[in-house]
C-alpha cells in the first residue's frame, strides 16, 4: 500500500482505533470493556459519531453486531477486552463465519512485553480465533494499526463476507503514530473481485435454455449480494421454479407461483421432489450443506449441476459440479440474463405447482387443546401482515419459523443457519432492531434458547427498542427431544426442561410442589423492565401478538405450546425424498 507523504498529527493507537472506526462508517459499536482495552474505551467516550451499546455478555455483543449486519447489509462492529472477553466472542465469530456475515471485532491484548507469560486475562487470541474468522490480525507495531483497520473492514465486506478480528496489545494502544489512514488495498493473496468467466456464463445460459426441467436453488449468497431482484427476473424470464435454503429465505418471494419455499431436511416436499426430478439444478449463492443434500449419491440424480458462487472452495466441495461459475452474483446474473431465452415450461411449472398443492406445510391439532407452535408462527405472519423481520433461535422454533411464515423480503429472516447457535435469537434481534429502527422485529425462540442469552433483555429495555420476543415454551429442548423420539428410542436424556419426569439420573427431589413455570419468564422479563404476557389458549394468540406489535416497548410473549409437537416433514439425515417422514407420533 502506498503511504502518502501527507502528515497526520501524532496520536495514540487507541485514538487510531476510534478514528478508524469513524472513518469506515461505524455508526454502532457493540462491546464490553475490560483492563486490556481501557485506552480504547477512554477514546470511545469522546466520539460523537459512534453510538455504543453495552450488552451484558461478549457473546451477546457479537450476535448483536451480527444481527445488525444481517439486517442492514453493513459491517457489524464489536470491541472487547483480552482473555475471557475475547474467548466469549468465539461462538459469535464462528456463527458469523459459517453464515458469511461481515463483522469486525477488535480485542484488547496484554502488553507485548508480557505476551506468553500467562499474564492476567491473557489468551492466545489469534490462535483461538484463527479457524472461526475469515482473517485475523495481531498488531505488533502501532504504525501498522491504521492500515490494518482499513484492511480488516475491506476483508470483512468483500468477497464472501466474514468476521475479521484485530488483536491490539495494551502498549500498542498507548504508543503513538503519525501514520495516516489510506484508502485502497493491496495484498497479493486477496483479490476478491471476480466478474465470472464470460464463456462459463454463456455455457450456463445455453444449458438453462436447453433444459426442460430446470430448478433454481437459491442460498444466502443472494441476500448477501442484494441480488434478489435479478434472481426473480431470471426465474420469471425463463419460468424456472425456485427452491430456497434456510439462509436464502426471503431471497425469492414465497407468494410467487414459482416459489417452492425451503428445501432440504425440513423443506417443502414439493421442493425436494423438484430437486429429484429436475434435469438442471442451478445453485445461486448456496453451498450444498448436508441439511440440504441428504444422501449425496442420490442428490439431484437426474440433473446437471451448475454452481454460481463467490467462493471457489464451495465448488465441488460436497456435490459434483458440471458447470462452475465463480464470481460475484451481480455481474454474473447481469451478464447471464440477456442470454436467457423466454420460456414457458408449462408442464414442468404445472407439475411443481401440483406438488405444492398436494403437500403444503401442515400440522396436527393438539390432542390436549394446547396452542400449536406452528399456529403461533402463522399468526405472527397474519398479525404483522407479512412485514415482520423474523429473527430465530435454533431448533424447532427456527424450523417452524422457516415453514409457517411466508418469506417475501430479503434480510427479513435472520437465523444461525450454518453453526446452529442456540442463544443467537435474542441478541441478534436487538442488533437488527438497532439497525432497522422502523421495522417490526420479532425474535422467535424457545424456552431453551431464551435462557442462553436472557441477560440481554435489559439492553432492549434501556435503549427502548420495540422488539417482540416470542417464546415457544414446550418444556423441552424440542428439536433434540424430537430426534430422541425418532432415532433414540424415546429416551429423553437431558432434554426435559421442566422438573418432572426426568430420567432417573437427572431426577430432582422436590420437597413441595414445583412452581408451574421455572424459570418464570414473565418475572424474568419484568425484572428487566420489559412488558410480558403468558398465553396458554389459542384464541388469545392473535390479540397478544397485536398488543405487543403495536406497542413501542419491548415485549416478551411466552406461549405455552404443545409439548411434543414435531417438525415435519423430515428427510432423515443422509436420506432421500423417498424416505420423507410426514407424520410422527
Amino acid at each position: 500500500m502506498k503511504t502518502d507523504k501527507e502528515t497526520t498529527a501524532m496520536r495514540t493507537g487507541a485514538r487510531c482505533v476510534i478514528e478508524g472506526l469513524e472513518k469506515v462508517g461505524c455508526k454502532v459499536l457493540f462491546g464490553y470493556p475490560g483492563g486490556a482495552i481501557l485506552d480504547v474505551y477512554d477514546e470511545l467516550a469522546k466520539s460523537d459519531k459512534i453510538h455504543f451499546i453495552l450488552p451484558r455478555h461478549e457473546q451477546g455483543a457479537v450476535h448483536m453486531a451480527d444481527g445488525y449486519a444481517r439486517a442492514t447489509g453493513e459491517v457489524g462492529f464489536c470491541l472487547v477486552t483480552s482473555g475471557p472477553g475475547v474467548t466469549n466472542t468465539v461462538t459469535g465469530l464462528a456463527t458469523a463465519n459459517m453464515d458469511g456475515v461481515p463483522l469486525v471485532c477488535i480485542s484488547g491484548q496484554v502488553a507485548t512485553s508480557i505476551i506468553g507469560n500467562d499474564a492476567f486475562q491473557e489468551a492466545d487470541t489469534c490462535g483461538i480465533t484463527r479457524s472461526v474468522t475469515k482473517h485475523n490480525f495481531f498488531v505488533r507495531d502501532v504504525n501498522d494499526l491504521p492500515r490494518i483497520i482499513m484492511e480488516a473492514v475491506y476483508i470483512a465486506r468483500t468477497g464472501k463476507p466474514g468476521p475479521v478480528l484485530i488483536d491490539v496489545p495494551k502498549d500498542v494502544q498507548r504508543a503513538k503514530t503519525a501514520v495516516p489512514f489510506v484508502e485502497g488495498f493491496s495484498r497479493p493473496g486477496y483479490k476478491p473481485s471476480h466478474e465470472g468467466h464470460p464463456r462459463m456464463i454463456t455455457r450456463l445460459a445455453s444449458i438453462i435454455n436447453n433444459a426442460k426441467k430446470p430448478l433454481l436453488y437459491v442460498g444466502g449468497g443472494v441476500i448477501a449480494s442484494n441480488t434478489s431482484d435479478l434472481v426473480r427476473e431470471l426465474a420469471h424470464k425463463s419460468n424456472i421454479p425456485v427452491a430456497t435454503t434456510l439462509m436464502g429465505l426471503g431471497a425469492f418471494p414465497e407468494k410467487d407461483d414459482l416459489a417452492l419455499c425451503m428445501l432440504g431436511m425440513h423443506g417443502l416436499i414439493a421442493s425436494n421432489k423438484a430437486l429429484e426430478a429436475c434435469d438442471l439444478l442451478v445453485s445461486v449463492g448456496a453451498r450444498f450443506d448436508d441439511r440440504v443434500t441428504g444422501k449425496i449419491s442420490e442428490f439431484a440424480p437426474n440433473a446437471k449441476i451448475a454452481h454460481i458462487d463467490i467462493d471457489p472452495s464451495a465448488i465441488g466441495k460436497s456435490v459434483r459440479c458440471d458447470l462452475p461459475v465463480v464470481g460475484h452474483l451481480e455481474p454474473i446474473l447481469k451478464e447471464l440474463l440477456p442470454q436467457i431465452h423466454e420460456a414457458k415450461r408449462e408442464a414442468w411449472v404445472e407439475q411443481c405447482l401440483k406438488w405444492k398443492e398436494e403437500d403444503p406445510f401442515t400440522y396436527p391439532q393438539s390432542p390436549t387443546g394446547a396452542i400449536m407452535p406452528q399456529y403461533v408462527i402463522e399468526q405472527i405472519d397474519e398479525v404483522s401482515k407479512g412485514n415482520a423481520l423474523i429473527c430465530t433461535d435454533v431448533g424447532q422454533n427456527q424450523m417452524f419459523s422457516a415453514q409457517f411464515f411466508r418469506h417475501n423480503q430479503p434480510r427479513h429472516f435472520l437465523s444461525s443457519g450454518g453453526l446452529g447457535t442456540m442463544g443467537f435469537g435474542l441478541p441478534a434481534v436487538i442488533g437488527a432492531q438497532i439497525g432497522c429502527p422502523k421495522k417490526l422485529c420479532v425474535c422467535v425462540t424457545g424456552d431453551g434458547g431464551m435462557q442462553m442469552n436472557a441477560q440481554e433483555i435489559v439492553v432492549a429495555v434501556e435503549h427502548k427498542l420495540p422488539i417482540n420476543v416470542v417464546i415457544l415454551n414446550n418444556g423441552y429442548l424440542g428439536n433434540v427431544r424430537q430426534w430422541q423420539d425418532m432415532f433414540y428410542n424415546r429416551v429423553h436424556s437431558s432434554t426435559i426442561l421442566t422438573q418432572n419426569n426426568r430420567p432417573a439420573n437427572e431426577h430432582i427431589e422436590c420437597e413441595e410442589e414445583n412452581p408451574p413455570y421455572l424459570p418464570d419468564f414473565i418475572k424474568l422479563a419484568e425484572a428487566h423492565g420489559a412488558c410480558a404476557k403468558r398465553i396458554t389458549k389459542a384464541e388469545d394468540v392473535a390479540a397478544a401478538l397485536k398488543e405487543a406489535f403495536d406497542s413501542p416497548k419491548p415485549w416478551i410473549l411466552e406461549f405455552i405450546v404443545e409439548p411434543e409437537s414435531n417438525v415435519m416433514p423430515m428427510i432423515p439425515p443422509a436420506g432421500t425424498v423417498a424416505d420423507t417422514i410426514r407424520t410422527f407420533k
Binding site: H135, P188, G189, P312, S313, G316
Partner: protein
Amino acid sequence: MKHIINAIVENQPGVLARIVGLFSGRGYNIDTLNVGPCADPMLSRMTITVLGDDHVLEQVIKQLNKQVDIVKVLDLTSLRHLERELILVEIGAPRNKRPEIMDIATLFRAEIIGVRENSLTMQYIGTQEQIDDFLAMIRPYSIMDLSRSGVLAVSRGGE
C-alpha cells in the same frame, strides 16, 4: 497418495499456523514441511508433502487459496516438477570401517562434511527415493544422528 504442495505466502507470523491448521483439522499429518524466503523478500515459499485422499486435498488446497495471506498454492504432484531433499547424517566410523563408508559416499556422490575420531558426518542431496536408497545402505552402520530437510520442489517450465 503422496502429494507435494507448494504455497507462496506472505512472510508473516500466523501464516504457518493457518496452513498447518487446515491439514491437522482434517486429521492429516504433514510428512515434510519446508519454509524459506522467495526471490521477493515479502514472500515465502512452503513446500509440504502430505499423504492423503485426492478429493480431500483438493478441498484443502482450495481452502488454502482462500486465505488472505496465502498468495498461491499449487499441487505439484501431477505437474512437471523437480524435487530434492537434503540429509545430514553422522555415522559411527571407527578407523577400520571408514573405507567402506567412504566407498558408499563415493557411490552416491554424498559429501563428507565432518570427521571426528570415531565418526563421519555426510551430506547427501537427492530425490526422496534416492535418499531412501542411501539410507538403506548406511543403516547397517551405527547412525548417531540424522536430520532431513524435507522435500523442496519447483515446477518446471515456469509457473
